[in-house]
Amino acid sequence: MAKIELLAPAGDLHRLKTAVRYGADAVYIGGKQFSLRSRAGNFSLEEIAEGVRFAKEYHANVHTTVNMLPHEEDLKGLEDYLKALEDIGVKAIICASPAMMQCAKRVAPKLEVHVSTQHSITNSAAVNYWKVHGADRVVLARELTLEQLAATCSGSELPLEVFIHGGMCVSYSGRCMLSNHMTLRDANRGGCAQSCRWKYRLYEAGKAIHDEERLFSMSSKDLIGARFLPELIRLGIASVKIEGRMKSAYYIATLVHTYRMMIDEINEKGTITQATMNEYCEQLMKAENRPTASGFYEGLPDESKHLYGVNGAGISKEYIADVLAYDEAKQLATLQVRNRFEPGTMAEVFAPHQASQTFQIQEIMDEDGLRLEAANQPMRIVKIKTDIKMVKYAMIRKVIERDARYSE
């Protein structure tokens, strides 16, 4: 059985490189044209080329989203764009428009075509329909339970990709026009205003039936599918996808690092113990700034899987520094500050393909060796004494007891 692919998001080159260094098998990005998530930064062709070159050094691939639902004016320049992606060495495009898929097959046949989740594919008959039309992979709808997913796998003749972690559209992907209706921003062309995360009053026959203090909202908790990973591997799923092209490098590093270790452990040992799974899930929670739930994997989501009365956009302050260098002789780490920390802070360092290690920050010095009361200026270079051997590109976070409300 082919090894399952760990597919990570990246909104720019820095995040692409982070995802690859931390162990992603493939990264999906958006180009400047034909892609959703207009705020994710998105890559120029030159940046895509650099990303592909970098990924290849790590034997990783780059997938590019060509997933807008084009209006008439949006179709111009598609052939040249697809040919350019093929020339650059992009492995696959993620597509919602069948015309774009057919165009890719015609003008850039080396590109794999992955059918986007916007087609809301929930069964093998639909999967196999796309096989007939030349698709190479199908991204299934997020609305499938694990049981339905297993049944779909058994009849499908194409590799399947599923979401394992991250933010979830509350609607069937691609079937939501709330943003269009409420803000004239086109959800299927990169402009989604996330109107589903707003708060609403509810009326029955004109009479209010909501609780003014706890208004109706459609906002979903983020998906955490880690506990289903062993089963997804057993089912032969081709790829597990982390959502979040707009998320930070720290978020991506934390998730990719943990899922990489999980996949490698399952591949090596055939399973994961409950205790180890719990540890991995704790690691994953350190990336989160929103509460999480199991999505549809365990069945139709109930009220516990929704966000009511919780601001879903909180900012995590756990990520405190990047490791720039480590002097083994002097046991001195050079760090770039991301968020405030002080001497005495309990911290955890994690690096690509290495288990995380906990330590207490002792003395903090500036670049000239002068002692600091706190590292409180983002992007400042500081040094700390530590006997933990740190590597470049490692990241450091605070050890925080998380509020129980942030998970189911």
Partner: protein, 300 residues
């Protein structure tokens, strides 16, 4: 303009005669558990009678098979398509490509009508599905009149359908959002299948219909889209079918609307008169021109 078909959505069996008399050429029927967001959902056992009645009134009978099917529902879907073939229905609306795959295998491709709601936004995608040999494609409602006319120019317009009247679907979630909200509040009540529910964003004053059933939750536009001023140019563009959707209206109300569009297409009244009659019939109903003149933005 006579060629433009008027399709609408009956709620009861008695609507068939009334809607045919009002000028409808085709009727779209829901059938549980295969349909979503239908004005009227009829039991499987009534379909033969419906077909007979439609034939008696010279209106086409179409059936909505527009839900997404899970793997275990596929055998039931196949059986249903066999039944629809035997009944010789005129059209089968679908959204899930499984319906297309099975329809092709059954030799009923020419009865299939693709209605993915949001996905049909350009001529190239329309031509892809028409190239499969299906009967028609329903265009998305979130495109402008200019875009509709551009698509009609580059496709066979006699195989296009547009929804000209009614509330537009703004969102479809598999989740039971209203039931979950009631549970979150600790209130022991069901709001399923109620058609008198509206939501209003906390900082606004416009209300959108919301409807929940066993298939999930559906949210609709603030206003009813009407197309009295646009019918003529849509017809001149050769677009075959114009739908009047009545999910939140009674059969009687829909008949009134169908009559107006029928008179308009037969040039018995002009657009202005039709619009003013409509406003007279429905004085409290918010209405607009949908996205005909409101292009959406690709940026946030």
């Amino acid at each position: 303009m006579n060629a433009m078909f008027l399709l609408t959505t009956p709620i009861t069996l008695t609507d068939i005669a009334a809607m045919a008399k009002a000028g409808a050429n085709a009727l779209l029927f829901g059938c549980e558990p295969f349909s979503v967001r239908c004005a009227g959902c009829f039991p499987l056992s009534q379909l033969a009678e419906i077909k007979k009645t439609c034939m008696a009134y010279h209106v086409e009978m179409s059936v909505a098979v527009n839900r997404f099917f899970s793997e275990t529902q596929l055998p039931q879907l196949q059986d249903f398509l066999v039944l629809l073939k035997e009944l010789d229905v005129d059209g089968i609306y679908f959204s899930d490509e499984a319906v297309l795959a099975y329809g092709q295998a059954l030799g009923i491709t020419d009865k299939l009508i693709y209605q993915p709601d949001t996905l049909m936004t350009n001529h190239a995608d329309v031509n892809f599905y028409l190239g499969e040999g299906i009967k028609r494609v329903v265009l998305a409602r979130e495109i402008t009149l200019e875009e509709i006319l551009a698509i009609a120019k580059q496709c066979d317009p006699t195989r296009l359908e547009i929804i000209i009247h009614g509330y537009s679907t703004a969102m479809y979630s598999r989740r039971q959002l209203l039931s979950n909200y009631m549970k979150f509040l600790g209130w022991d009540r069901s709001l399923q299948k109620q058609r008198d529910l509206m939501i209003e964003e906390a900082t606004r004053q416009e209300r959108m219909p919301i409807y929940e059933d066993e298939n999930g939750t559906h949210i609709f536009s603030v206003a009813v889209q009407q197309s009295f001023q646009e019918l003529e140019c849509l017809s001149e563009a050769g677009i075959h079918t114009a739908r009047i959707d009545g999910i939140f209206h009674s059969g009687k109300e829909i008949c009134k609307v169908v009559e107006l569009y029928d008179q308009l297409r037969r040039k018995k009244i002009d657009a202005e008169t039709a619009l003013s009659c409509y406003r007279e019939y429905f004085p409290d109903e918010p209405s607009d021109c949908g996205f005909y003149y409101r292009p959406t933005s690709t940026t946030k």
